[in-house]
């Protein structure tokens, strides 16, 4: 409980933690997946595991867009970056992510024109400022960022900008949840639903999880109290044998989502028949491509794309960790060959990946403890 005093409303947090312990009892084990990488990061940062009883296990889901991006897509994007007059623009999150020939940052050091942008609209601005160059935006993210990419392309089209394109890696969260639920070794009882993705898609797309799969799901905020309250809501459903979609994050997430954002996505994107996810493999209808009306802004249509596929080493057990079959430290490579400094598997790639989060907080904490016990 040592972190509790640092939080807002410590008394309410203690009370909620007490309610969790009461509801959880001791008879059975509960496995809950937090889908969103932001939640994973918050859980470790806040030390929520120290507050929760041992029979509640949090499984870290596939909701880190950097982690699930196949390395071949980075290679493909960087291959286009080497075409004459191309400026490769991407979020800072992408800069240190390794491709087989190095990260975007390492390509920049080799003389490739790689720029960090904070917004897709900055990439478009780069195109306006460099009319004799071609700016390719390496787009990544779930439904939180996809509408911004879509609206940027709509603006580019309306302005008649010719030297701008998007290399689209946007993915959608629902098919990934479906893939996890469909896998035979799946052992989850309930889901903590993503907060910010849900501001866009709303709560309705989760209804099949409750109705068809009989798993409760609660869309949750990111504060410690939010997540603890969401766990209370899930436990109450599980205890009552119910499976419903509930919204703990009502102050930000409307049930219907953001219609303007969904409309922008529908205008520019269409579903890909399938897309590869690192750690999960190919998932049908799980990603977005640019539709024919926006073909002139589609980097995959404007440029020759090598279509590189990179297989993760067989020893990496990312898929099992994603499905909650293994804890991060139970993977054979964890903390030995695969570390945040030398990521081999998907989940070690970003600090929001479950293995990197586990490594940064738990592993280092354990190392400190053993050091202090020696001293």
């Amino acid at each position: 409980m040592r972190f509790v005093d640092e939080f807002r409303e410590p008394e309410l947090i203690s009370k909620t933690a007490e309610e969790i312990r009461r509801l959880a009892g001791t008879e059975r084990h509960y496995r809950m997946m937090e889908v969103c990488g932001g939640h994973t990061h918050a859980i470790y940062r806040f030390g929520l595991k120290d507050i929760l009883p041992e029979n509640i296990e949090l499984i870290h889901g596939p909701g880190c867009p950097v982690c699930v991006l196949p390395m071949g897509r980075i290679d493909d994007g960087l291959a286009i970056a080497q075409e004459p007059d191309v400026i490769f623009a991407a979020f800072g999150d992408m800069m240190r992510v390794p491709g087989t020939q190095g990260s975007p940052l390492e390509h920049k050091a080799r003389g490739i024109d790689v720029r960090i942008v904070y917004s897709p609209s900055d990439a478009l601005k780069l195109a306006r400022l460099n009319p004799d160059r071609h700016v390719m935006f390496f787009a990544i993210g779930f439904e939180t960022t996809a509408p911004s990419t879509a609206l940027t392309m709509m603006r580019a089209k309306a302005e008649g900008i010719r030297n701008f394109s998007v290399f689209c890696n946007h993915v959608t969260i629902i098919p990934a949840i479906r893939a996890i639920l469909d896998s035979p070794d799946m052992r989850l009882d309930a889901f903590i639903g993503p907060g910010h993705v849900s501001t866009v898609i709303g709560c309705r797309p989760y209804e099949w999880i409750a109705h068809n799969e009989r798993k409760p799901i609660v869309v949750s905020g990111f504060e410690p109290l939010d997540m603890l309250q969401s766990i209370v809501m899930l436990l109450r459903q599980l205890k009552a044998g119910e499976a419903r979609v509930e919204n703990q994050y009502k102050r930000v997430v409307p049930w219907e989502g953001n219609r303007a954002a969904l409309k922008a996505m529908a205008q520019v994107f269409q579903l890909r028949p399938y897309f590869e996810w690192r750690g999960l493999g190919f998932i049908s209808q799980s990603a977005l491509r640019i539709n024919d009306q926006y073909a002139e802004f589609d980097a995959e249509q404007r440029f020759e794309v090598p279509g590189i596929r990179v297989t993760d080493p067989k020893a990496a057990q990312c898929g099992e960790v994603l499905k909650g079959v293994l804890k991060p430290h139970q993977c054979k490579l964890f903390g030995r060959e695969c570390t945040p400094e030398h990521p081999i598997g998907a989940l070690m790639v970003s600090t929001e990946g479950s293995c990197a989060a586990y490594y940064n907080y738990e592993h280092r904490k354990a190392a400190m403890v053993s050091l202090s016990s020696i001293a």
Binding site: A42, G92, S103, Y118, S119, D122, T144, S148, T199, P343
Partner: protein, 112 residues
């Protein structure tokens, strides 16, 4: 084309950073651009930047109102209290510096 995945001896010495694109940053609408109703000046704890309001078309925020910003686009309207709570969450997450760097990065030109 197939390539081999990372070998155990891959030289990559940097620690890979967090996920700033996933941050939701609260900002207060200062003014809506007179020549573009989709462009607004926002204040994020004293830093002023231009953001895009195009994804809040159905429910446009007015000056003085608060929004959550993702990658330079306002994504939802929130209350002042929620904005303060979100800032404290970012602080607790150790993401304040990242969030401010992100905000300062919006727009390639200064608006101050």
């Amino acid at each position: 084309m197939d390539r081999d995945g990372p070998k155990h001896d891959v030289a990559n010495h940097q620690v890979v950073g967090g996920c700033r694109m996933c941050l939701a940053i609260p900002g207060k609408i200062v003014e809506i651009s007179s020549d573009n109703p989709d462009s607004a000046l926002v204040d994020v704890v004293g830093v002023r930047r231009r953001i895009d309001l195009g994804l809040l078309q159905d429910d446009k925020p007015a000056p003085g109102e608060w929004v959550l910003i993702h990658v330079g686009f306002a994504m939802s309207k929130i209350s002042e209290q929620d904005a303060a709570d979100q800032m404290s969450t970012l602080r607790m997450l150790g993401e304040i510096d990242g969030a401010m760097q992100e905000v300062k990065g919006y727009g390639l030109d200064d608006v101050n």
